[in-house]
Amino acid sequence: MANFTPVSAAIGGALIGLAAVLLMLFTGRIAGVSGIFGGLLNPQNSDRAWRVAFIAGLILAPLSAALVGQAVPMPQLPKSFIVIAVAGLLVGFGTRLGSGCTSGHGICGIARLSPRSIAATMIFMVAAIIVVALTHHVFAG
């Protein structure tokens, strides 16, 4: 387990949990990123300001890390934009249909002991693990 970073993972995870609690305390909202972003796409939706602000904060974090010399590396993604676009379409459609993603279901929902979120998290975790096993091992080029 050479890549295991338990201390930074625990600190980072605690910050994500803290952000979720503070967002509920301040705005009464669930910190689900797919829901926050998805709500911006509906032209009938009027509550845009807090959504845009949350996403701006998300983007500011790695920028500020770069300012103190902790630049986030360029993400390593497949070369094929088609694979990336298919993944993006599935993540977008799936999180809307399933009403949440890793943050909304995996953190906020399970913290509320929501049976829906516990079920959703188990399903998307198992699906992702199977896809990685297939793409990285069974059908690996």
């Binding site: 980072g12 949990g17 301040f26 829901g35 993006g88 993540v91 509320r112 399903i123």
Partner: protein, 156 residues
């Protein structure tokens, strides 16, 4: 003020992604690759991130639950209870997309800071996928209206 508070929350969330390393798709895939368990290359960090996040969020939500939000009239706790077909199908599709390249919505948006062309393609495709769902004719009549009256997303 509510927008400023929301900005702060997004920033803390983003710092959590940066510090934990979950902003990096390779780090996420290192957890999702269970073939790494026998070979010793497995990275359990994502499980620790979730455990720490859940510990803080569970205690924090319990403290916050009875209070009225500082900048809103009421808390919008999700009301849905039933494990229905859209939930299962949606989680399945999301999991397949997530496993393909290791990006989920939070890290994808945070990675816009790197101006990576791949991330930009992903975020545009994600927005199209979301819009496609919301505009789906059969669903547009019921689902979107429900979204607008309650919280925008039922769970997150």
């Amino acid at each position: 003020m509510p927008a400023l508070a929301s900005l702060l929350c997004g920033y803390i969330f983003g710092l959590g992604l940066v510090i934990s390393g979950m902003i990096m798709p390779t780090k996420v895939l290192g957890f999702l690759d269970f073939f790494g368990i026998p070979s010793g290359a497995w990275d359990p960090s994502l499980a620790v991130v979730m455990a720490a996040g859940l510990a803080v969020a569970s205690i924090g939500y319990a403290l916050v639950r009875p209070r009225t939000p500082i900048f809103a009239a009421q808390n919008l706790w999700p009301a849905a209870k039933e494990i229905d077909r859209p939930l299962v199908a949606g989680a399945l599709l999301f999991g397949i997309g997530w496993g393909l390249i290791g990006l989920c919505p939070g890290p994808a948006l945070a990675n816009l800071a790197t101006a990576s062309p791949g991330v930009i393609v992903f975020v545009i495709a994600m927005a199209i996928g979301m819009a496609a769902h919301d505009l789906w004719p059969a669903r547009a009549a019921t689902h979107v209206r429900r979204d607008l009256t309650a919280a925008t997303a039922a769970d997150g």
